[in-house]
Amino acid sequence: MRNYILRRLLLMVPVLFGITVIVFLVIWLIPGDPAKAILGTFATPENVAKLNHDLGLDRPLPVQYLIWLGNVLRGDFGRSYILHRPVIDEVLDRLFPTLLLAGTALILSSAFGVLLGIIAAIRQNGWQDKLITIAVLIGISTPSFWLGILLIFWFAVRLAWFPVGGMQALFGGGDLVDVIHHLALPAITLAAVAGAVLVRLTRGNMLEALRQDYVRTARAKGLSEGRVIYVHAFRNALVNIVPIIGLEAGFVLGGAVYIETVFQWPGIGRMLVSAISTRDILLVQGGVLIVATCYVFINLLTDIVQCILDPRIGQA
């Protein structure tokens, strides 16, 4: 088990390195450099050349990358061309809100997804199952930015139960209740799609588990139905559900990009959207690297949990 974790940790290094290379190349493949993005219709060749020189962007690409990599290894992510502050400061300011939003959405979607999945499975073909299946179908086919706008329209504008956006009230806000109040709509929006996928998956896995011989044996032993479902069937279904929750973590981190824009959430996703449009290369690099690191860690975590649930995996 320890070796397995250690091996997985070491594997993260080339993965993260690869991510930095890809991000660096991709942003240079998009036409339009930072100088042109800044100067817009004033992008005369002379102005562009001068600004690129001032920004240190007139050096060859591999040189720029190596300088950047060297600095990152020393903990210096450079300065944002657009926001005029160290990249790491901006990214750290933005990281907590994103983790809060994505984390809450992940917990909500996992809890409700698994719960409803179990209900649907044990009431297979009953009215609960049908209701849940319809809800799931709607959940999966609804684009989450649209759902967000819809929720804002009803619950914030029409009913005024929740704020339209932001993370805390501007005046006298910032306490836990206030943040939860602001968190509710974006977290539900983000959780809806992810949760729907999990319901389907849990239902399928539970149905399969409930048909296994050991379940029949457990029932024959005279165990209570609750024990049969939660201890025997669910525990085994969980082995297949946990890695999906890991994937969902990536999904909610990615989904946060547009949910944050719709709900004015001060997170890393919204930061990346504007950084990409202004070609703020170092900020994009820093942001993506941090998000990718989070994702890789979550994957590691789910692998470990899976390994605990099914020790055979660690020995392979």
Binding site: A35, L83, F112, I152, A156, W161, V262
Partner: protein, 523 residues
Amino acid sequence: MYKPLWRACRAAAIALSVVAAFGIAVKAQTPKDVLVVGHVAELQTLDPAQAVTISDFRILSNIYEGLVRYKDASLDVEPGLATSWTVSPDGKTYTFKLREGVKFQDGSPFNSASVKFDIDRVIDKNHPYNHTGPFPFVFLLGPIASVDAPDPSTVIIHLKNPYAPMLTMLASAIGGLTGVSPDAVKKYDKEFARHGGGTGPFTFTIWEAGQRFVLERNENYWGPKPKLKALVFRPIIDENARVSEMQTGGTDLTIEVPPDNVATFKADPGKFTYYEQPGPHLWYLLLNTEEKPFDDKRVRQAANYAINKEAMADQILKGTATPAAGPTPPAFTWAHDPNLKPYPYDPAKAKQLLAEAGYPNGVDVTFYVTESGSGMLSPQLMGTAIQADLAAVGIRAKIETYEWNTFLGKILPGMKGKANMAELSFMSQDPDMHPSLTLRTDSAINSGRYKNKEVDKLLTEGRTESDTVKRAEIYKKFQDIVYDDAPWVFIVNWKQNAVSGANVKGFRLHPSFTTRLWEVWKE
């Protein structure tokens, strides 16, 4: 049998309704002495010399003042931090008398030494604080050679060659760089962009990334003190969210209301006040005059006659723009030729001109359209409408759509061999600026390769003539020629708009695309 499960569901439902009920109790309210502004973007910098976006300048114009400034509701220049000035007969020396007793927000004195420091910082590569840049738009201030400070209240700016737009550019938002506190620059060094320091009516206090940006009243301001205690700018990039916040009272003022929502706010004058103000903006079609068919003036004019600009302004842009008549926006009241009327919508005349030019059966062209872009309004919708109007007279345009940066990258180096026409727009503080960059034979970004010796001559005269009356005559001649020669299809002039709560008083949009919030109060 499954009671724990149902109990869990019930508990969750109850918890949700409690949160919902609580929501009703804490509805957003903004304090009376604070104005909350729904802002289109994040602030990027507090250094006016580094700022590049209109959204930044809308905030910075409340913190910084220049030597001169624009009058209320016009682009004419009046005294700012300088009380008077003279221009030498050769147009190369500007002497300013400075206002006395003015202090920066940090308490240090404003004087000729500070002005010299501020200008040297951005133009002199060897200045000890030049590394606080880069300063992408400083070229707008023209060819400054050097600055002298003979006594504390006199500043002399020497130019390399005469540059008539000098005063209007000093009055524009970027001119605020002459009112930057040298002490603040020295104290914060490269971090100055995150702290700032000027002489203006508001002082920067709080900047929370992605959440809010707060300015407080400068209690030591030399002029009339602002009525509000503080301004809070909330970056709300999504336009639907901006509208929703305004509707629910989360913001007091929103600048740039999407055209589709204008009617909603106008319909409720008891709750909202709607503002509009034409600015120096022009949305036009750039024509490739180097290649067929737009190398022929008659075809260029045909395109101008073929497009229904009225319908564009009223229906697509919902009245947020007016049909344009020529290359100089009417907001430049002193330079604009009011006798020039937009090309009338006349498809028959367009067809006739096309036939005369040798295209009786019409012609195929390539049309570059952008997805979005600064000042581009609704480029895709407008592009499609233009395509339909042109098709009706026989100009069959094939649209190619590109993302803004890509789009500029394709157009600015020149359109030869790529496209016959492209959408473009500009906003500027002086009628010289955009034409000089794009319509002179030797311009750096003359993408349509327009060549007209008379236009070249007039543009040169216009930027060297320091007498405003004579300058105005030159630009009127320039407009008449460009109108007739039609290197562009003149489409619309945008009216910037805003909406505030009905309790907000004293707010006006300014033609310079800045927002002057020191006169605003709430009832």
